[in-house]
Symmetry: D3
Subunit: 139 residues, 6 copies
């Protein structure tokens, strides 16, 4: 039986700064440029969570979108929205909040909450021009 | 020789209701919530049909977009647009018109009309926030 | 002192049918075409509510967006979302739910809830290609 | 002779916090909610600058879009992009950076740079759902 | 009685070149830059035609969108789509096809086809970042 | 270690004509229709370049977006923007500039500039309704 991918969009607005504590200011500036502003800058992040599985023949759903929507709200939006990723979100205490790393953190927070029978993929837009896609299965 | 995927967008506006005739009203309400409104609600569905194949060296086309556009119009838009999916579309007489099931029905209507050399994928947006992707090859 | 317009987007998904009870089927078909399908069809309506006023020097707000968001939810989204406009919404019992008339109904529901010092404008998208704008001041 | 409005889009990514230094934490929380996070949050701001005037019969332009694009870059993008509005931008040292106030500041920075024969309007999106429009002529 | 504005989107894809026959190559390059490429370049133009009037109490329409859609197709899309504006469209034989001038030409072609009781406004996107708005009433 | 895909959007505006020099006018008209206008037509092309690789543990980047942005500008935007693809771009001297062929040309121009450890995918929108995706790995 073939599988269907169900995708749900969400969003959060956050401040961040790209830098490494163990690098000099000069090296941080060289590598991260204006993203290294010590006063922070910010983004409207647009998030897509994609869940792939077989259609339940009872309901016609792969997964109940209402459940997926609430899960994203509880685990991601409530944790990241209107926050400073570097200062307020524990996962980035020692991890540079690049859009790549944020996508992996989101994946790792959601993966254990969803049945193992599903494949999960995260797409995260940092701006309308920059985005990343991540799935642990993408070897 | 590598392959290219060609995608064409279309749209249709339709009413629907999520429910099972063989369930009680209480169970339908529990599972489908406000999507079970007996008076129906509706959506602007945005459809993307993706066709993957080798570029024809004569024309530079994988498939003629004008042909694909007309096929989508004849088989999908004319059948679904300004319709009530539950009442007017035979495929949903005994099939719950979830966005997952609509995508599979669209795939099954288009697949026999397109050369076997092509792979086909259907992406269907029910709202700007909810969408599904389906291909029979996605095992 | 100059004025600023603050706009908030919202959305609702609804079924409807364009027709007049006092017309024959033939006349309804002639005037409303496929929008007159007796089984209904539907749309994702995108709504923009624009409020024009002076910036409050205390808060820097024309109007608190959280208050405006909640007002739209209470008065419009909860009343229209996942509804059949013809059957479930009292305002359209004897009023044809064209996008023009829906916009005027929304204006008339919100206008008394907002301070008289504000000007109000309603923009309503029925599809990505069709939309209307209404303000009672537009003589 | 009739007039034409020419609009140019731009964008900048910035951190900010809504609060008043002269208010208690409790009052700031009550009025500004999660926008008052002391660690800041941020947005991708989308800016539209609209210039209204008569078409120059020599060039067919109201204003040269390249000139307008460069002006927005020099005066707004370079000043606001990847900045903390509260900490890095002098205009908000004692002015709460609500989207209303940011739009007025942008207007006041651009107005003197553009010929008096033009009318100017600023549209500023803080998110895809919240935006403001400002023109000093809007009495 | 208040008035409602009804807007309809359309699009056409065309080539053009910005230049004046009566100017030297140097002056054309200086003023129009890369838009003066003698081989032409092109755009996907997105057009919005807005019609303002009173809601007809019989139909609930300001104007029948089907009629407006067909009018735009006949007068604008069929005349401009897949054309070279400089070479194929008579209105630009001696008129520089800037986005400002194209908008005025569209207005002048549609205005006589629509009842005098309506006000008409043209919005024309040359790119996602550049657009113009024109109405003969905008003095 | 899993891999992340990083995507960057860019755009260029160009004229083109679909036809084969070695075909008669009748055959070109039959196959390419209005896309065969000898005076050319044009499009706003939207380009997405996707790079898949492992996150660098030093920087948190798969690839520095600033480097990718500059590469796209140097190799694609400067070569294609405000050009006539048939007349000004050497790759299309004897190759029909269908959107499929343009995507392959872009891939072939960028592939040697990017480290072999990366997989590359090109998505190219010719209009908002037509687009293609190409990767040499898509067998």
């Amino acid at each position: 039986m073939s599988r269907v991918t169900v995708s749900r969009k969400a969003h959060f607005n956050a401040a961040h700064r790209l830098y490494r504590k163990d690098w000099s200011d000069e090296k941080n500036d060289l590598v991260f440029g204006k993203c290294n502003n010590p006063s922070f800058h910010g983004h409207n992040y647009d998030l897509i969570v994609s869940v792939t599985g077989i259609i339940d023949q009872e309901t016609g759903f792969v997964i109940d979108m209402k459940v997926l929507k609430e899960l994203i709200k509880d685990k991601i939006e409530d944790a990241f929205d209107h926050k400073n990723l570097n200062l307020d979100v524990p996962e980035f205490k020692d991890l540079n909040p690049t859009v790549e790393n944020i996508a992996v953190v989101i994946y790792n927070k959601l993966r254990p909450m969803l049945d193992e029978k599903f494949d999960i993929e995260i797409t995260l837009y940092e701006t309308a021009r920059n985005y990343v896609t991540y799935s642990a299965n993408n070897l």
